[in-house]
Symmetry: C3
Subunit: 335 residues, 3 copies
């Protein structure tokens, strides 16, 4: 495996194998298998748990990692072709990535969406430019419109909890003081569909996921025996749910228009997951979130501190699945 | 040992054992005993020597570490209960710490005082919230009102220099352009008292350490055979001193009131340790400071560059005692 | 070797030995020879490739490294003697460097020129103060007026490409939106002269390298059989060139005068290396640059994306030569 950019680019067997390896690494975390190997982590946007889990994962496998933050200070990577670079950016990915690749056995890159034009962000131009420039294995640490590490960790969490493959999975939009990227909802809705689940996207008017995202999820469902639909009817969505996955995201209907988006969000503060939401769900329904989560804004304390919350386990699985990805990429290669 | 938050929470035997281990590690610094183990360093405030000495220490013991700085950028940890998190902080320690704990065998945390309300800072609410949230061993890298790594390093330095257990220890306030936290003076006065020393806090009017701090130190002295008192009379304080430990701190009498504090500090520029101060001290009296130190503001060049200064050795002992703490916490545990 | 500050302070045999070791490490990069050893990297200015290549290099040799950035936030190192430190800086190198040296087997330091007074920057006061304060081996990670890691990597690149020792080497000034330090052109012109090359500095009026720099290069050439001269005649300079090394730098004629420098630079946008420049050069002439490079400002896409560009290889050699320096400094010492 030379690229880990999008679960949809991996076949079922690869995903199954990564999940099996992740569980084995969870039981037996420490080895020397990546002795002398180096992972380069390139953060164009800040990170806490991704940085920590990747650095820890490499160390537990006997390897090492370095962190560069080209988006800070006067630095930055240009990604477009043919540009006269007399502006902010001092370096193009065409040099920056091949150079860093010479110092690393694999690279990871984080590049958030710009949040101006929806079609542009969904096309992932920055991730694409970096992938085109990297001669070494590349891991997506959250891109403009995807977060496969999160999605794979969530898949493992569902497996760990024995949530049925065909169980009901609700992805619910939630209020947040700021418009947030589409990367996690995009990755998660497709992951759940791919796993064969009965997926409902619960969201207010204007927050329907982009058609392209829903189509990809529907296609994944068609192969796995799952289903995908959208609604703004909470009772209908929650009925019999095995899992509620909360996440806020930018309104696609007002993408890039900060004021219109703020008006749309106004009055949606009650989109805060509360214990009452679970009245018609299954009694053992789980609550999921990718973190960080704003307490009592996105979800009430009672849910997060209660037995149904598995958010900490989800984050724990980030470590295990990422180590599986690194092993798959680096474990068998000659130095 | 699962917590290293305050020397006063450790019994005499544990402190003695840590000091013995630290000296052994100073003689024989490199091993593989922490192979595969990871320390997570969480800095809510910046650091130079704490970051460097902990990263180096883990590496010398065969382990590894990662650094996260949640207080930078748009990130940050909320620590209060029941808050509606629609403000600055995007994550609560109730999630943030347990998540990072899954990536690490132990955590270290730095959380400076807020500097607004003295009673609040002395109660250490941030350190307390983090300690309550951490399922793994936790090291205080300097909290609102304590700095046990510094205090233990200073204890070792006093032992290394054969300063008598019952010698005279002067903690002197010094001028500084800004009001500084109480963490170091609090930790140091109690450490010296605990070691059995005859402790004098030399400070101008308004800079007396908080009653709670002096009481803790007095209690420590009552068990060790030491003594603790305060004065603003320099000659009396310096008479026969074995050690002068300089440090600036916030005026407790004007805590949180920046202007009143500045007025109080006005005219105190002569609280700069000078060679003349040592005229009535013992000829071999030592000068100590936790660093960083502002030359010719806190202390004159002649003192810092002279034979009595042991500030660099103090900082060197940070490495050795911290490695002893890490070994005690992690050395015997199964992975 | 206890200092790697300037290639001119090393004898020919040491340089030859470093280049040989670097090639060996390129063929066989991973070992345990620096097990337990720690490199402390002190960045007073930001870095991407230097940080990454040094951290990776130590890891590949079985050692470790830490990064401190004292120039960020409220921190910083004072370097002058006798100063009353009541300003920005909270720490003097006289304490800061010896303290960090206790946590590391070697230190690396980056300290860019201030850009105000040419004579001051050429005298390298900050590097000098740090070198005087460091009790452990010290590597220059780019100082006020030198960059020996870059120069040695470039030397290896010339050797790798079989560029004749007495080949024609053109160092050409190039346009850039901001005035840049003299460290790289200074290091490179002397390296090429030292290697025995026929060196031409091609630059517009006002951008002649400082006399002191040209004299050092001329002296190096006199020992190696090379030559050094300057011109503003592009055709003459490019005639028969084996190598064109592009770099922008501050106008020495207007050093420290931002407005005068900007006026001087006005109208020099055509100092952008283009394929046409190579018409009179050797057909296989190489294009070199230390990176980062602004595309279509410093050099046209066609050159950078063409067969003559070796900029990525240059950066790759940073890793190999730096590992050779670290091995030379640390490999044979007892722990």
């Amino acid at each position: 495996m030379n690229r880990f950019l999008d679960l949809e680019l991996l076949d079922d067997q690869t995903i199954a194998s990564l999940l099996t390896t992740a569980s084995a690494l969870q039981r037996d975390p420490i080895s020397d298998v990546l002795r002398g190997r180096v992972l380069g982590l390139v953060f164009m946007n800040p990170s806490v748990r991704t940085l920590a889990s990747f650095q820890s994962g490499m160390a537990q496998l006997g390897g090492s990692s370095f962190v560069v933050t080209p988006g800070q200070g006067s630095w930055g990577f240009e990604t477009q072709d043919g540009v006269v670079m007399d502006g902010t950016f001092a370096e193009h990915v065409k040099e920056g990535i091949p150079v860093l690749a010479q110092y690393a056995d694999a690279l990871g890159v984080r590049c958030f969406a710009e949040g101006k034009d929806l079609a542009t962000d969904l096309a992932e131009p920055v991730l694409g430019a970096i992938a085109a420039a990297s001669p070494v294995p590349l891991v997506n640490l959250e891109s403009e419109a995807n977060h496969p590490c999160q999605a794979l960790a969530d898949w493992k969490t569902l497996d760990d909890l024995d949530v049925p493959r065909d169980g009901k999975f609700v992805l619910s939009w939630a209020f947040h003081p700021r418009p947030l990227p589409l990367a996690v909802p995009t990755a998660v809705v497709t992951m759940a569909a791919r796993r064969g689940m009965d997926v409902t996207v619960l969201r207010p008017e204007g927050y329907g996921l982009p058609a392209q995202v829903m189509e990809t999820a529907a296609q994944a469902a068609s192969f796995s025996g799952g289903a995908v639909r959208e609604t703004d009817d909470r009772a209908e969505a929650m009925e019999g749910a095995h899992v509620v996955y909360a996440k806020s995201w930018h309104a696609p209907a007002a993408y890039g228009d900060v004021e219109a988006e703020a008006r749309l969000r106004e009055g949606l503060r009650d989109w805060r997951v509360a214990e009452e939401w679970f009245g018609v769900a299954r009694p053992d329904a789980r609550f999921m979130h990718c973190l960080p989560v704003r307490r009592n804004v996105v979800v009430a304390d009672a849910v997060l501190d209660g037995a149904r919350s598995v958010v900490v386990q989800q984050a724990g699985n980030r470590l295990h699945v990422q180590k599986a990805v690194l092993l798959e990429m680096l474990g068998g290669r000659d130095t």
